[in-house]
Amino acid sequence: MSIILRKIYHTGLIALLLTLGVVAERVGLIEYLSDPYEYPYIVKLLYQHLYLVGVSMALATGLGLLIGIALTRRRLRRFAGVVMYIVSLGQTIPSLAVLALMMSVLGIGSRTAIFALFVYSILPIARNTLAGITSVSPAMIDAAKGMGMPDWRILLEVELPNAMTVILTGFRVALVINIGTTALAYLIGAGGLGDLIFTGINLMQTEKLLAGAIPTTLLALLGDFLCTILSLLLVSRGLRLADSQ
């Protein structure tokens, strides 16, 4: 049964790739991408996209970790519930609305976009940092305390390493959403690959549409993949072993 299913799956995958290739050729995507005048423009948009994602994610990761960690400290722990509730309310606002709202306050341009992306990406990172650290087993913390570990050491050696899987999941969600939302940044004059996508949608120029949508998708998949690599680097083998059991 499963062997047959696997065969079907493989065949389907190959067929899909072939079809995609043919379609790309037909809609002129390949021609468009190799146009020496358009090509640098696409690169520029890609660069803009990466820039928006990179800067906003860097800021969000820093602040998100900080908030998450702070809310697990003894003195602030009682605010964790309230803060996280607000945060989760924040996350019900659609990304498009966040961009639009920021635009109406801060005006047009990439700085606004970065700020909006930054705000929107803090949420999952902070939430998962909090959840990850909170879920570290109290027995482990007790063991660490009982050995006389100072708090900062417990944070660095026990809490963060053991929360890393969850934190990375948050980072990954933030990154993927961020890359997707950046595709909307064109609307407020911040550029990025959304430029091509919207051109394509508005003018029904499939090659441009795909020239925008495919790199955006690949970028998101790449980000996802990057997180997998990151988790190999940052999550202790001991934890992965424990999970696989």
Partner: protein, 276 residues
Amino acid sequence: SPLIVGGKNYTEQYILAECAQILLEDAGIEAKTKTGVGSALARKSLVNAQFDLYFEYTGTAYTVYYEQDDQAVMTHPDKVYEWVKSHDADKNLVWLDPIQFNNTYTLMMREKQADALGITSISDFGAYVDDNPDELLFATDVEFWERPDGFKALMRTYDFRMPIDQIKKMSTGLTYKALREGQADVAMGFSTDGRIAAFGFVLLEDDKQFFPVYNPAPVVRKDVLEQYPEIRDILKPLAQKLDTNQMQQLNKAVDVDHKELKAVATQWLQDNGLIE
């Protein structure tokens, strides 16, 4: 099922769609609006029967859909209307009576800066850009940038080249805001937009007659018109009553005064005795 009155993604189109919908309903034809898409998509939607009717501009059809650039035709309202009407007839699309205003693309500047730089026409602008390529920022939407009657082609016609980094692309209606707030020095606009006057922008003269004439007209699929032949007469008053000035006023009422669309449309139709 109700008649779908389509519309593109800017205010004038919302108003026109709204007016048409009110008139149709008033005449007892159930109708509803569906707006917010780019030009090409609007057109495609009409062909694919996802719209039954929407207002298209003669120049747009001529240059974008038929990719024509005969100056003799496109700068002449009647000629271009007849041209697209007859060509579209082959595609089972019927152009009804055109409305008598020209909503052309235009380049706008803040009055002060235009005066300071001594720019009054697109030629001036082109020359200035060629001299100071890294100075002026230009705000446009993606559609105007790409279209055959858009900025790329315009630069060719006027023979200047603006560096890509000076072009700021954004959502269609934001160019006015960008220009007003100084995030752009020159912006694409629509000549009937109420914000041009309200924000004190000057329009650069199209001294090389680059833009065609853009008279809006309701375009209907033939099968729809056959089903509801009365549409032609229902929408006729729009063509007779709506002029450039009035359109600007309506646009202004929505964009600047933030009046509600339906209210604005209803008010105008009442004022002109088109509905009770």
